[in-house]
Symmetry: C3
Subunit: 342 residues, 3 copies
Amino acid sequence: MYTLAEIARHIDADLIGSPSVRIHKVASLLNAREGDLTHLSNPYYRAYLQKTQASAVILKSADAENCPVNALVVDNASLAYAKVSQLFHRNEAMPDGISKKTDIDPTAQIGEDVGIGPFVSIGPNVILGDRVKIGSHTSIGAESRVGDDSYVHSGVSIYDHVEIGQRCTIQANSVIGADGFGFIPDSDGKLQHINQLGGVSIGNDVVVGASSTIDRGAIENTVVEDGVKLDDQVHIGHNCVVGAHSMLCGCTGLGGSVTIGPHCVLAGGVGIAGSGPLNIASGVTIGAMTYVSRSIDKPGTYQGATLHTDIESWRRNALRFTKLEELAQRVAELEKKLKERD
Amino acid sequence: MYTLAEIARHIDADLIGSPSVRIHKVASLLNAREGDLTHLSNPYYRAYLQKTQASAVILKSADAENCPVNALVVDNASLAYAKVSQLFHRNEAMPDGISKKTDIDPTAQIGEDVGIGPFVSIGPNVILGDRVKIGSHTSIGAESRVGDDSYVHSGVSIYDHVEIGQRCTIQANSVIGADGFGFIPDSDGKLQHINQLGGVSIGNDVVVGASSTIDRGAIENTVVEDGVKLDDQVHIGHNCVVGAHSMLCGCTGLGGSVTIGPHCVLAGGVGIAGSGPLNIASGVTIGAMTYVSRSIDKPGTYQGATLHTDIESWRRNALRFTKLEELAQRVAELEKKLKERD
Amino acid sequence: MYTLAEIARHIDADLIGSPSVRIHKVASLLNAREGDLTHLSNPYYRAYLQKTQASAVILKSADAENCPVNALVVDNASLAYAKVSQLFHRNEAMPDGISKKTDIDPTAQIGEDVGIGPFVSIGPNVILGDRVKIGSHTSIGAESRVGDDSYVHSGVSIYDHVEIGQRCTIQANSVIGADGFGFIPDSDGKLQHINQLGGVSIGNDVVVGASSTIDRGAIENTVVEDGVKLDDQVHIGHNCVVGAHSMLCGCTGLGGSVTIGPHCVLAGGVGIAGSGPLNIASGVTIGAMTYVSRSIDKPGTYQGATLHTDIESWRRNALRFTKLEELAQRVAELEKKLKERD
């Protein structure tokens, strides 16, 4: 429980209303009740403001006059809400102490105040920093390291020679350090394996979503820099470099040797892969379901894909797409003919 | 083993042939032998009917005259086959009793006739209904519940505060309740975490495929309603609502705050995400690999994506697509010029 | 450590330089130092050749004259490097002997020199061949088999009645044999389950990437033939047949009943699914992010999808795509009018 005055101070907001009101939890604009704090960030929800029954709303000054209850006025309501959300943890049980139902190699070095859940296996020469938490059923291979204050959830498979920095969160069932996909056909067309001799380096403050995969490098390490956030079911191929503070949304996949600059945003379902290495500049945003087959040199927002329509229209349009070159040539021909007659 | 008469009764079919024939198993039209029952649902397989060596075939009346063997005539051969398939279980070993190699919190409540495999971890205040089966290596976090007769397979990570209804099936290695992907850049461009305080609610008779991910809500719960079927590698973002009896095929992903109505079918590889919440009406079918960036208000079948061609044609067509607006303006210009001359 | 002479012999290369030079490890052209062997396969890296500090480079004869250091001249530098990479293993700890923290059914048959990690569960009548390695937290269901010299990594869920051949590698957290996605709506629109009675057959020398899913067949087995390589997060639906020595890159998904011929290459993010079974001929290459909705009869390279542009251009072009049929008809109308005037 916090007073509005305390929360206003925490997020550096102008409080319009009563400082002594008590906030017990956060809620959505639509469903908030007395004692709840809510926020208006996405304009989509503006229609709900007038009717909210929250005790207070975090919002921008432009919305303040329409707020029927206490208002916490800020420049960036999303960011202010993020800070508030960190005050209202949910009651999640984290591993506390080291379960006896584990398999920890005697050469592993375990820091202070580490929590390790049941059925965790830790290999030779692993180093866990202070206050690290390892969820149940996670395995950590030989020579790998997890930095201070990182939390690896349940069912994660970390291979050997993987380095994870400090304050990272690895969600459940992710795989870090599996072999990169390196095969080359021999003269019989049989696929010969290229041994994957590199590792994976993950910086500080990185989040890896559930069931994501980050492959180890072929020769040098695959690299995920500080502050990167990966959503669920993201795939990072071997020898990729994901630049600091970039964000890759769900189901996005990077083929091998893709370098993403810092502060990029890749929306969901994006695929980046080429016949050689690709480079994406810093500050690039790529829209959902886009296929990127060439490097992008300039910051900006890029998009590919098509829009949906009813399926009958789509069938005709998609067929026309398969002859678009021909159509363009017919247009050029028409232009030529018309010019000849001028 | 069943007689044809018994099977005809079970699926309410008209039997053309001998009621006393014994059926030992089901098989495909092409490979069925004596003692096998097969079915003709997809017209693609009609060519195999004349040569089948099955003892009987489930089919529609229109196909009956071409059936060389006993026929079970029904209106809906797929549905009738589904019912028959349920008579011929495969011999799968399910957890029976509670393995001693588990880690079950003493505050957990376990129903009658529950089966729990080895290396399962169950957290504080978890409630498992009667006849629940939990496969090996599955973890269930604090305060979560699994309803009567549900079967959670191996390697599933269920976080805290997740509710799963009755008669559900969760296939292996899925993750339910991982943090939603909520980050917001601060003034330095560093991504601040929005704590994910909601949970996940899953109704009755839901199937979740292997390696699928359903994220917990930011404030309120992510919801999967009764009878929903999710295939493998499906991703459901935070605060989605998937309507009753909808079906999401493999590799489909929903960004945050997507609401799908009841009785929808999303084919494989579909991606639905927008800058704000999106709503898909009930009874909508979306074709494979379609990107949906706007809400869909009316029932019907929708499709996006492009068709494949040989790569040389595609290169030219795809380049033309990047200048399609210009081409359309050139056509408009031609129309204008031609009109001027009329 | 190997001498250049030894390596030249191993990969059947012409050595230009000093046979007695000692090679301690492999490295990239850019970062190689004395004692390192590197290779030039992708023309993208040719610019780095002149400045390399490696002790030797594997390359084609056309590049030999620009090589400032010892050269190993071969016809196929990628393939030669693959062979060399197999000489320089990384030091990965594999399960050695059978951990005592396992749950192995007494009816399981375990071959010679098998290694089984901690927290592995093995069901009734499972057969593990000689020298099989099973990583921690893997479960193998009843009646399944793993052939000689195969390595199943950590956290893999293998269901019942799955057959895996010899010398296979299954990367972490994959799922083999989960139920195929078979549901059919009844007259109320509720989805009835089609029991999945088949299994999965995987040949020899197959690689399955991390977090991939291969579903069991509805009636007959899903089949992955000899030498197939699957990358991470690949999905194979029920009753697919993946032909020998084919390669499916990351995030590619096959719907049910898709048959891929031998020696195919599916790049990343490809989706293949139709209303009936689809067949892809042998020797087909499909480019990244392509949707394949029809069978492909001839060998060759195919591609779908669109190219990215800046988002403003894309918005206009994508809207035009939704009226491409109309545009084509307008062009046809113009052609007609112009012809009338001739």
